[in-house]
């Protein structure tokens, strides 16, 4: 039943955001959300409903319509979205642009900020990053294909804690990593 799939996916997400950098696997989605990665579809089913609004990068109509149909959530622009979905096909420029436009909340209501679901090639290889912050004992290491410029951009938008964005990364193998705004990321050479 779908309620058990979303419950299990939620617990993986909660674990991912509680232990930033921990690579979790999420089940595939019973519904077809292509061209999104199946796990991204299940995460959207888990988190989206008519009380929140979402935005898909590059105004991908097919994805937008499917998400709306399955979740009842409404599409909006990047500035007003509670969830921004960046499919694997998004260019680096597009990712940077959407992150810059995302809601970061205000000091009274820092929770009125966007969660960004970013699809990446891999969460097992690529650039090496060292992570620090709540949820991490000492330091944690993340290997992923996200370019350092994008991480730098994330750092800039999260500069004024508690304002900022939270990232959920999904890779092609269906692995998931959470990077809440509290995580400090440094590239390791």
């Amino acid at each position: 039943m779908i309620m058990h799939s979303t419950q299990q996916a939620y617990r993986k997400l909660l674990e991912a955001l509680s232990f930033p950098g921990k690579v979790n696997s999420v089940d595939t989605c019973p519904n077809d959300f292509s061209p999104l990665i199946s796990q991204t579809g299940l995460i959207c089913l888990t988190l989206l409903d008519s009380e929140v609004a979402f935005h898909v990068a590059e105004e991908n109509n097919l994805i937008t319509e499917t998400l709306h149909a399955y979740t009842g959530s409404h599409a909006t622009n990047a500035r007003n979205a509670d969830f921004i979905i960046l499919p694997l096909s998004s260019s680096d420029e597009e990712i940077v642009k959407k992150i810059n436009q995302a809601k970061i909340g205000d000091l009274v209501r820092p929770h009125k900020s966007a969660t960004i679901i970013l699809e990446v090639e891999s969460l097992k290889y690529g650039y090496k990053y060292s992570l620090k912050g709540p949820g991490i004992k000492d330091t944690n290491q993340l290997n992923c294909t996200i370019r350092p410029e994008i991480m730098e951009n994330r750092k800039n938008i999260n500069a004024e804690y508690p304002l900022g964005i939270d990232l959920i990364l999904v890779d092609q193998q269906g692995y998931v990593v959470g990077l809440p705004r509290t995580t400090q990321i440094m590239e390791v050479y």
């Binding site: 309620m3 988190l47 508690p162």
Partner: protein
């Protein structure tokens, strides 16, 4: 109970609670507002904790519920039964067996692990409420990290009693940003939140707030340089049943002899300890 959906709440309600919990984890110590549904128990009886438990629980979970250190009190039993009957999951009294622990006012003596989730019931989430009655203003104070009021409360206690007199719900500073009520756990349990291996979630049903302390997060109890934070001390006192000293003790009076004696407050730990000792 088959007429109720899995875990009692409808999926829409669960989604909203789940999103609020994620925000709470991302902003440690910040009180995230949530809708707080009507529950089949009264507000103020653990509805905040219960809603988090129901939104998170899955078929493979094993739940432990504690009320003031006891697994057998009416409140704990009823919450456990409600979750059990609407989900069919296993429940336990042993801390190490549980994947989720909902608690009223105690953190177990047995150290928690990273695969466990601690859910605390919160009557009053706002640490500045005694200083400022307006929610509008306290939200502003949190925004400005204006916490002199929280220190003032402790200062006044020191002036009056020569020490801080806040027994339970002793305020903490989380991740060097938000002052937070840890729920009315004894001061004895405050250090267990600091760098905890387990995720800690806090639910205030009546006040409609959810907040969280992720694992491995810095949590400092508020204090002054000349009046450092201290936990309750039980020097020279031991649990009559187990002989344990380094645990939180309850004081009892033997009604026949009038003698004062002490027992572990965490009764399941006491039981576990005694069973081990007897080789059961």
């Amino acid at each position: 109970m088959s007429n109720y959906p899995f875990a009692f709440l409808d999926e829409q309600s669960k989604k909203e609670i789940r999103r609020s919990v994620l925000k709470g984890v991302a902003i440690p110590g910040y009180q995230v507002p949530f809708a707080s549904r009507e529950m089949p128990i009264g507000r103020g009886w653990g509805t905040g904790g219960l809603q988090i438990t129901l939104a998170l629980v899955g078929e493979d979970d094993c739940l432990k519920v504690i009320d003031q250190g006891s697994d057998e009190s009416v409140n704990a039993e009823n919450i456990k039964k409600l979750v059990q009957k609407t989900t069919g999951i296993n429940t336990t009294i042993y801390t190490s067996e549980a994947t989720m622990i909902q608690s009223r006012h105690r953190i177990p003596e047995v150290p928690l692990r990273s695969d466990q989730i601690m859910i605390l019931q919160v009557p009053e989430p706002e640490p500045l409420r005694h200083v400022e009655r307006s929610e509008f203003k306290t939200k502003q104070m949190h925004a400005e990290k204006e916490y002199s009021g929280a220190y003032l409360l402790l200062f006044e206690q020191i002036m009056r009693y020569g020490q801080t007199a806040q027994g339970a719900d002793y305020p903490v500073l989380v991740h060097n940003r938000y002052v937070m009520n840890p729920s009315p756990i004894p001061r004895f349990d405050n250090p267990k939140i600091h760098q905890s291996e387990a995720l800690m979630l806090f639910g205030a049903g009546r006040e409609k707030k959810i907040y969280a302390v992720p694992p491995y997060t810095t949590v400092k109890s508020l204090a002054f340089e000349d009046y450092p934070f201290e936990v309750e001390k039980f020097e020279g006192k031991i649990c009559r049943a187990t002989g344990l000293m380094d645990v939180f003790l309850d004081e009892f009076t033997d009604e026949e002899t009038g003698e004062t004696y002490y027992l572990c407050n965490d009764t399941s730990y006491m039981q576990e300890y005694l069973e081990q000792k007897r080789g059961i």
